[in-house]
Each structure stands twice: as C-alpha cells, then as structure tokens.
Amino acid sequence: MLKLVTKNVGIENSHTLSVARSHGAYSRLEAAFAMTPEALTAEVIKSNLRGLGGAGFPAGRKWSFLPKDSPKPRYLVVNGDEGEPGTCKDKIIMIHDPHLLIEGIIITCWAIQSHKAFIYIRGEYDLPVEHVEQAIVEAKAAGILGETVMGHDFALDIVVHRGAGAYICGEETALLESLEGKRGWPRLKPPFPAVEGYMRCPTVVNNVETLSYVPYVVEMGAQPFADLGSERNGGLRMYSISGRVNRPGVYELPMGTPLREMIYDHAQGVTGGRALKAVIPGGSSAPILTPDEIDVPMDFDSLAKRGTMLGSAGVIVFDETVSMVEALKVIIRFYAHESCGQCTPCREGTAWLEKIVERILDLGGRPGDVDNMLRISRNIMGNTICPFGDGAALPVVSCVTKFRPEFEAWVRRGQPVTTLPVREAHIGEPVAAV
C-alpha cells in the first residue's frame, strides 16, 4: 500500500537530518525552485490537494488569494495545534518526519514568496516540538534554511511557537491572535488571513499534513497525485481511527476510501465482534453516522453530501455498548470547556447543553429536555463568530436526532438503555489527547 507522509515512520532516527536525507528529504527542492511561484501554485491547484486541517479548502487556491500588489511582508503559518478530538495525525509527521514538513514549508514559501514561517504547535506536544525545533536547527546549520536556502537567492526563517492549550487556537484567526501574543479569540471575517493575517499582513495558514504533501505533489506531478484520490480530492490523507475498533491508529489511505473498509479492513473491525452503533467520521465536530450510513467514500465532498464532514479525518467508532447520551456528554463537555467565550450563543449555549445532558444523566431529566437541546443547538448554529459554534451544535443535533429514543428513555426512566456494561474509563477519556 502506497505511503507518502508516513513512509518514514518506523525508521530509526527518521527525524534527524542525515537519516531523513537518505530517505528523500529535501530532494524535491531543486525541482520546486526550478518552477516559478505561479507555476508551482498552479501545479498544487491541479493536484487537488485539499486543506487537511478541517475545512478542506483547496490548498493552491488559498495561496492564489494573496494580494499581488501588497507592499507588506507575507507569512506562512503552519497549523500544528491539532486539537480536534479524535485526531492525532499531525504529531506523527512532526515526530517522525519533521524534515518533510520543513521541505513542504520551503516549497510553499517559495510559491507564496514568503520569507518567514511560523509553526504553531499544540502546547501539550512535547516530543513534536522537540523534533521540529531540532530539525530546524539542523536545517539551518546545513544551509537548508537561512539567508540562502540551498544556495538559492531566497531567504527563509522558521519560528516555532507553542500554544498554551486551547482548542480554539487551532481556528486560524484565533491562532493568529495567539501568535501575536493576544487572547485566542477568533477574528471577524472578512478580512481573511490571506489579506490581513499575522500582524495584519497577507498570510497563508495551512495544516501540517497539508504542507507535508506538497513535496509529493512536486515529486509526482499534479495529475498523478490527484489520481491517487477521488474526484476533486487529490492524493492520500491520514485517518486517525479510534474508539471501539480492534486496531486503532493512524492510517494513510487514498482520499475517498470507503468508511466501511476503514473500520472493517484497516482497523480490523469492531472490538469484541460487537455490533457497530455509530461513527463520527471527521473529528468530534462532524455529525455522527449510523451503521447504515457507512458506505460512503471518505472525502470532503462525499461526506458533505451526506450532511456530515471529513474535517480532520478523526474517525471515532462506537459499538453497541456505548450509551450515546454519555458519549454526547463527553463531546459537549469538551465544547463547553473549550468555547472561547467571545460570542454569546456559543459561550452560553454550549454550557447550557452540557448542564442539560448532565442533568439527564443524573436522572433529573424533564419532559421537553430533548426538544430543548435541539432548539438550543439550532439557536447556536449559524449565529456565531467562528465555526466552533456549528462544530459544537451539529454533533448534538445529529446525535439527539439519530438516537432520540435513547435520550427519551433516559429522560423518562432515568435509566441507560444499553444493557451491556459501559466502560467508564474509555468513554471518559478525551479521545484526542494521545
């Protein structure tokens, strides 16, 4: 099976420059520098490489939005905040192949003509930070970064910035605020970062994984890369599969791989041979799917058509023993805890929803609670500053709608509907903080 960004995982000391170089690191730079920035951007557009941080925006198109005539400096900001519950892919690249990321950054900076890049790394990620910083030091010493990148008349500096542990700082404008030393509150848009980003200068924000595929677009050529995936969803991507499966882990698979195949082949089926109850396909913000909805190609457009999203491709599997009410409590508790609190509906709504679910689980449910949860969620949706609000409300709406009898039963009888024991520890653990 073809692997690209995970190719070097498992090779001893793959994060060091010498080992990385012997496995191809920086070998695509010359080809990239041989292209004009415009041609390079066009190539990435043609490759159908999508933003893999969550929104799936075509990477090359985002680059092309930078204003052509701005006298201000341009920045590349690499999003390594990886906070979406169920997602643990970027850290694999940062730990095992940081030089691949740096190579992607160099090529991207050439394409957007930026001379400074920031890598914003999740605060809890000690080892990724260590490896990325070490890789930058080594690359600088080897003349790969600095005043003349690999002897070319092109300067590039990369700065690592550690987050302080807020999920919202993964949202690109909150990330920029945080990077500027301010409170991580998402900005009003427009202006978008491409026009006014870091320090109000044109900025491209891309996910770690997105940028790590860029060297492969150069190496393979746009069309062959695009052909690896599905329509308009080029290449491969990393799927973090967690929950009740026999072989949880991060899988690099072609875009559009069917969800069923992921669960039953790659992850080797549901734990203990139990029946599947539900799947979250793209991180906790993605609406939940029921077992009859899993014959779906895992790419951005196919999932959007099914009313859910690929997001960060954090696949979370629930088996028949899981109480959906408890599962939803874990999810909504996360959102209530992580809401930045800037805008009213999200700040108040997420906390309210959490209190209702907790009350239901404390056997204090009241008739009308379930409808009220739906009403509150819909009052959040579409009314907030940033997509966090929708990301918090959508899972509630989908879970409550699709498993309504279970919620009603809790409210009525104050009893869990599942007869099989619930593994408390498993449900209680935050799924993303691996």
Partner: protein, 546 residues
C-alpha cells in the same frame, strides 16, 4: 454609492457603511449590545443579527458592509427568533437581580427583553457564580455576574484611554470581566465605563442607590469644567425629595456631540455637579457695615447699599479709579451684560477677563484642556475686542495692590484658584470698595465689602464658547438656589437703579443683541445654535478654504 433597502425602505449610503449605520440614518433601530458607535466593532454579542437577501445565514448588522442592491430585513420571524435566542442566552447565567440593581430602568437587558424577548424560560439549570459588588476603581463598581461580556469596557480602556485596566479572563461560560493584574480602574475618564456598559455590571459608585433612574428628569447642558465644554445631560431628582440625599442634581451624563466631545466626558467634569449644591455655595447677600462687621441681608438692602456706595465712590474718585474683573467662568450673555453695564454704561475703562493659568489644569489628547475656564474664547471675543491694551487680571490686581484702584467689581468664579490668596488678600485690602458677585464662598466673598450671590450655569440659561470657538447653549436644570440670582438679573437691577442702558435680561434676547454687536457671533441665535452649537470660526475657515 450603494443603494440598499432595509425593511423595504430604500436608502443610498456611502460604501464602507455598515447595515446598522445605514439603518440608523433611516431612523430604524437594530438592537445591539457590543456595538457602540464610539468604539471599534467587536461583533460578538450577536444581538444585531438581520436577514440579508441571498446570504445563507443571518448577518450581524454591525459588521456587515452594505453592497449595491442589498436587501435587508429586520422584522422577519427568523430575525425575531434569533433576537429572542440571544436574549435567552444572555440571561441564562444572568442573576436577574434587577430589584437591587442600580441599572434597572436604563438596562438594555430589561429593555430588549421587553421589546424582543418575552419568551417563557425553559432554564432549569444552576447559574454560574462570579464576583459581585467588586469596587474596581474610585468611581466604578463591578458586578461580573451581570456582565454580558460585550467587551465595550475593555475596548474603551484599550482604544479610547489606552489605559488597559480591564480584561476578560478565563474561557467559555467562565469568562469574566476583571481588572488586569488587580489594577485599579483609575483613569481620568473612568466614569464613562458606567455609560458604555449596557447592563448593571459597571455602575457609578457615586450614583449607586441614590435615586431610581425613572424618577430623574434630564436637562441638556454643557460642562463648565474646562475649555472643552463637553455636552452633558444634567439628571435631576425633583420627584422624590427624600432620595438622592435630598439634593436636586443626581448626576451628569455625557451627551453626544461629534464636534466637541463625541460620546465621552472626563471624571473631573462628571463629578463637578457636586459643586452646584455644595455647602460652599454662597447663597445670601452680605454687606459689610461701617463698623466693618459683615451682615447677611435681603436683596433690596444689598442692592441699595451697592447702589449708594458705588455712586459715592465714583463721585469721589472718578471712574478711572474703578476696575472690573469678569472671569471667563461667565457665559457669553453675562460677559456681554458686563460690557454693556460697566464699560458702555458706567464707562469703567478697566474690564479684565484674562486670568493666570489654573495650576490644577490638565491637558491630554482626548478631551481635557489645561484651561479650566469654560468660556475663555468667548470672553476674549466679547471683552477684549474693544480694548486697546491687553488687560490682564494680574495687572488689575497689581494696580489694586499699589493703591491705584478704589472700586473693584469681581464677577464670576475661578479667581481664587488661580491667584495666590496672600497676594489677593493684600491687593483687596488696598481697595476701598470691593463688590463681589459670586456663586461660591471664597476669600473673595469674605473680604468683599459687598457680596451678592449669583446662580450657577445649572440654574440659568446661556451660552459658552469652547476653545475651538464652538458656541453652545445650556439650559436651566434647577431653579436658582435659595437667594441666589442669575447674574443677568442682578446686573439688570443695578442698571435700572443707575438708569443706565442695559441689555435685555432674558438670555435669548441678550444673546441676540450680542450677536448683532460682536462680529464673532454675527448671524447666530438660540434657534441657530440648537442642541449642538455652532462654530463660526470653522464656518469661515471652511469658506476660505473652499
């Protein structure tokens, strides 16, 4: 210019205008919390959501810029639902302690709930607890449970005063507005925080619990604290005598004037209302008898005494030994009346208004001016334009100290703060007859041979001219206190006794006469001045640049 319609009403506005601004020009109100026209946009409360045709979801009116042929609707069921939803969210953790909240009656949560909320509560949960009754500065009390986190106050201290004392801490529903690092909110404009806060989270410690706001009456006025002349409202308590410590004036609030003060006023001006009903007010005429003893008397006795002694002094020493100090504390009308009576009528050659600088004066680049007189600009135009030599109060006092002045009138306050008291005392000691017409007790009223109580600007009507030349009206908020009288009345009565020509004593007619005589005020009238005032100097400069 984009043409748009809001609720089927067409309007053409400049591009770069937001929907809320466009609606405002149509007189259409879109409810809002975080939006404040004097502050940068935050777009966070989401109260101003409106429907924009072709947009996939509701848009915030405060940060959605108009585009050509945009169609906006503010009365659809979706908008109504969203407004009620936002109110429901805002009140979900609000303590609902209106009965003991000083904001009640002018609280935007109360107002909007009644206008746009009116849902039945479905809330069964406990509320988040936060700080209550936390003094955060000399003038401001914080109740963070009532705070709706609109960030108006943080934007005020960040972008207007640049003092950064307030911040929002913690996350989500635990977000809390608090002073940064325990800082005291002690900037020169801190009272404005109680104005910008739309709810009862930041209240004015000076005003708290004095009187319910619905008992207050409002009179437009102009602050007399410095040469800026910030437009204010004087809030008076006439309907509940036992409230507000038995006083009439409860507070000053800034009144918007784009030319002068925008939305703000400084704390010194805000709390200067205390001077109006202060124990320092001079409220009874007083005359010093032949034995040197001071006696309180009624007006007719006092006026007769002034009449007689002034007439005698002028007859004895000639008018050239008389002098008048009229401070720029006086209104344009009062200064005009002084000029009419003293210079034109009595022919006193020395009428000085130019005082030494106030050592307490502070200047910054927001509002405060170092000149703490409200009407220096007007005084110079009215009194100095016709004087050959530039007369200063200092030179008058010097002449007095050297015994060259036998009769001295001192009209208007502010002198004792600017002149060394020992020097003043020494100068006045050399003058046979000192007639002081004053609103407040001072060594002047103590040393004067005759002292007459004048009403302040809060009790009278008039105009003042600020340092840029803006001529602004103020209105009487309370009747003259006790025996005090408007200066125009006092001077009119003296003119009457001396059978001298005088200006009409009604401020409006007096101003009309002034406008006819003094070039600067030409063409102005009370009607022309309106609520915001007019700046003739800008009128001419714009003409000359055109």
């Amino acid at each position: 210019m984009p043409k748009i319609t809001i609720d089927d009403r067409p309007i053409e506005v400049a591009s770069g205008t937001t929907i809320i601004q466009a609606a405002d020009t149509l007189g259409l109100f879109i409810p809002h919390y975080c939006y404040h026209p004097g502050l940068p946009v935050a777009g966070s409360c989401r109260m101003c959501l409106v429907e924009v045709e072709k947009a996939p979801k509701l848009q915030i009116a405060c940060y959605t810029f108009v585009t050509d042929v945009m169609v906006v609707r503010t009365t659809t069921p979706q908008v109504a639902t969203a407004r009620a939803a936002i109110l429901e969210f805002l009140l979900a953790n609000h303590p609902l302690d209106c009965p003991v909240c000083d904001q009640a009656g002018e609280c935007k949560l109360q107002e909007f709930y009644m206008q746009f909320g009116r849902y039945d509560s479905t809330l069964l949960e406990d509320k988040t607890k936060k700080h209550k009754q936390l003094p955060v500065g000399p003038h401001i009390m914080l109740d963070s449970e009532r705070c709706i986190l609109c960030s108006r106050c943080t934007r005020f201290v960040d972008d207007i005063t640049h003092t950064h004392e307030l911040g929002i801490f913690n996350r989500g529903v635990h977000s809390e507005l608090l002073p940064v690092d325990g800082a005291a909110v002690d900037n020169a404009y801190s009272g404005c925080l109680a104005d910008v806060c739309p709810v009862g989270a930041l209240t004015d410690r000076d005003f708290r619990f004095k009187v319910r706001v619905w008992y207050l009456d409002k009179t437009d006025s102009v602050c007399h604290g410095c040469a800026r002349g910030c437009n204010i409202e004087i809030h008076t308590n006439r309907r509940r005598n036992h409230h507000n410590d038995g006083k009439l004036i409860a507070r000053y609030k800034p009144r918007f004037n784009a030319q002068v003060n925008g939305y703000w006023m400084c704390d010194a001006g805000r709390y200067s209302y205390k001077q109006i009903e202060s124990p320092d007010r001079f409220l009874q005429p007083r005359v010093r008898g032949a034995d040197g003893r001071v006696q309180v008397c009624d007006w007719s006795t006092a006026l007769a005494a002034v009449d007689e002694s002034v007439t005698r002094a002028i007859a004895a020493h000639g008018v050239s030994s008389a002098a008048v100090i009229a401070t720029p504390d006086l209104s344009n009308e009062e200064l005009w009346a002084v000029r009419r009576l003293c210079r034109d009528g009595m022919k006193i050659p020395t009428v000085a208004c130019r005082c030494p600088a106030d050592p307490r004066g502070v200047e910054d680049n927001l509002l405060r001016k170092a000149d703490t007189f409200p009407n220096s600009f007007g005084a110079q135009r009215i009194l100095e334009a016709t004087t050959e030599s530039e007369l200063t109060v200092a030179s008058v006092l010097q002449a007095a100290a050297s015994g060259r002045i036998r009769l001295l009138f001192v009209l208007g306050g502010g002198l004792t703060e600017r002149v060394d008291p020992a020097h003043l005392q020494q100068a006045l000691a050399q003058v046979d007859l000192v007639v002081a017409i004053q609103s407040h007790h001072s060594i002047l009223t103590d040393l004067a041979t005759m002292a007459l109580p004048a009403s302040t600007y809060a009790e009278t009507e008039g105009t003042i001219t600020n340092f840029t030349g803006q001529v602004q009206r103020y209105w009487p908020a309370i009747p003259p206190l006790e025996e005090s009288k408007p200066l125009l009345d006092i001077l009119a009565q003296l003119a009457n006794r001396w059978e001298l020509p005088f200006t009409p004593r009604e401020p409006e007619l007096c101003f009309a006469e002034l406008a006819g005589q003094v070039e600067y005020f030409a063409g102005l009238s009370y009607r022309v001045l309106g609520w915001e005032g007019v700046n003739p100097s800008q009128r001419t400069t714009s003409k000359s640049t055109a």
